[in-house]
């Protein structure tokens, strides 16, 4: 048996002041889940493709006299395949185990956690909660990625359970690729802007769907003179995000409870940069255009709209589409599939932008040495296989 490459331990994560503590067994549990996730994707998932190509696809062709024509045809055929059933059942269950583990960890210390959050948030003018903001259907219909309570449920007054649990658990699903503060996405945006658009100095930044602020914080750090407005509809997430940013010594972010479909509090052309991170796939056919129209309204000419998102399905082989679409149906991400088959240029056109201005770019974030150690001597060139590449698209408003 070859020696497996060791995976990073959850313990290497940066423990900011509102990060839930973990005892010995809680760390071991998160490490087990990290290993299980990597095992499922590296060792078991390739077998799903073998099952498709070796059994399911030939059977489909035999009975139908043609190849599958859509990801949905593949999915329906694969649902009868034993290997796919086992992989799916394991993957779904692993997600549920993650949530149970992190919620148990957070709930046992929730009283002290809430106290710490309240202390950091006390009388802050950089946290604006608005009880009139309702949870929209696109996140209220099912609990996104099987996270009980989603981003917004409150079990008691001033609760932050769902947010703290999200902060703790991200690592187990991503095996450290997001970095020690799970902020790789925001870091990648900052790095790309400083390297490729060094003359762009946004003074006002809007981050939409910020959840726990893990991508707003690195943006605020990349542009310390800028005012960052980070919005979300989810109260517990905003409370936690604000305290988390303070704990990290970041003071130029205002966290605001708001729905990006309508932001009457912000003037036309009042932001230089508008970002979202892994957000659009959690919207809907009705909310996404409204949000994009709002972005168009508040963005200054010469300003940048940038979305970190998974790649669109177009041009991707059908098996890839099918396997990426798993989350749509089985990980409570119902808008994932419909969003990834949109014609984005047409969508941007419809919302007042010029779709022809749209660009696609792969943003490379730094490998977090805190998690993966220093690069070995003589290891020149790019960090293939270690540096995560973030798919991003957007446009400069003319």
């Amino acid at each position: 048996m070859s020696v497996a490459k060791p995976l990073p331990s959850w313990n290497v994560l940066t423990k900011h002041d509102v990060f839930p503590t973990a005892n010995h067994d809680e760390v071991a549990r998160l490490n087990f889940l990290t290993h299980l996730n990597v095992h499922l994707s590296a060792q078991i998932l390739p077998g799903v493709r073998l099952a498709y190509e070796g059994t399911v696809k030939p059977e489909f062709e035999k009975t139908r006299g043609r190849e599958p024509e859509s990801r949905h045809e593949i999915r329906k055929a694969m649902l009868n395949n034993g290997y796919f059933q086992m992989w799916s059942a394991l993957r779904r269950n692993t997600m549920e185990m993650r949530h149970q583990a992190t919620r148990a960890q957070v709930l046992r210390q929730i009283e002290s956690l809430v106290e710490k959050v309240e202390k950091l948030n006390f009388q802050a003018d950089t946290l604006e909660l608005d009880t009139s903001i309702e949870v929209p259907d696109n996140i209220g219909s099912v609990d996104i990625h099987c996270q009980p309570g989603c981003y917004y449920e409150e079990y008691f007054e001033n609760d932050v359970t769902v947010a703290a649990s999200y902060d703790v658990g991200l690592f187990a699903t991503t095996a450290g690729l997001l970095g020690a503060l799970s902020d790789g996405g925001g870091q990648a945006i900052g790095k790309w802007l400083s390297e490729s658009h060094s003359d762009f100095k946004p003074k006002r930044i809007l981050d939409i769907g910020c959840t726990i602020g893990h991508n707003a914080v690195p943006l605020a750090q990349a542009f310390p003179d800028a005012e960052v407005i980070a919005i979300d509809v989810a109260r517990p997430s905003l409370r936690y995000a604000h305290a988390r940013a303070k704990a990290l010594g970041v003071n130029n972010i205002k966290f605001v409870q708001a729905n990006a479909e309508d932001l009457p509090q912000y003037d036309d052309q009042s932001f230089d940069l508008v970002t979202t991170s892994m957000f659009l796939h959690e919207t809907s056919h009705s909310s996404m255009p409204r949000i994009l129209k709002t972005i168009n309204r508040v963005l200054k000419p010469g300003g940048l709209m940038l979305h970190l998102e998974q790649p669109q399905y177009e041009g991707m082989d059908l098996y890839q589409q099918f396997i990426r679409d798993w989350d749509s149906f089985y990980n409570n991400e119902p808008y994932w599939g419909p969003m990834h088959e949109l014609d984005l240029k047409a969508m941007f056109d419809k919302c007042g932008f010029n779709g022809e201005d749209m660009f696609d770019v792969g943003l490379i974030s730094l490998v977090d040495e805190k998690i993966f150690g220093k690069r070995e001597k003589g290891d020149e060139g790019e960090d293939f296989g270690r540096a995560p590449v973030w798919n991003a698209y957007g446009l400069w408003k003319k």
Partner: protein
């Protein structure tokens, strides 16, 4: 002071995400057993880590030599005790297979059959 008296933390930790849960295996119960087995696998992994930590701590204090632990050979009586333990462990976890075998050997009646017999006047 945060008021959390009204919440049941044990229930809340394991609460279900909103949205109907898909089942993939032919039998829902089989998938539920898989879920239980995977949780047990996690707890076993946690226990192994805990034991490894105990070994580290003992070694740091000079109370354990891990080389010695790895090459430890139980004497005859200890080996016999362990064999008995292992047999008991296996019998315990594989009880359902033992009972299925006994039933095949005995051809047990169903409760309905016995009920019918017992209520014959």
């Amino acid at each position: 002071m945060t008021d959390t008296l009204d919440i049941n933390k044990l229930d809340l930790a394991g609460t279900k995400a909103k949205g109907k849960r898909p089942y993939f295996l032919e039998s829902k119960q089989t998938e539920q057993v898989m879920s239980i087995v995977m949780s047990l696998a996690m707890e076993l992994s946690v226990t192994r880590e805990r034991l490894a930590s105990v070994e580290c701590l003992l070694e740091d204090r000079g109370l354990l030599d891990r080389e010695q632990l790895n090459s430890y050979q139980p004497d005859k009586s200890e080996a016999e005790r362990r064999s008995a333990d292992t047999q008991e462990f296996l019998a315990r976890i594989l009880r359902i297979m033992q009972q299925d075998k006994e039933e095949m050997q005995r051809n047990d009646p169903t409760m309905e059959e016995v009920q019918e017999k017992l209520t014959k006047s």
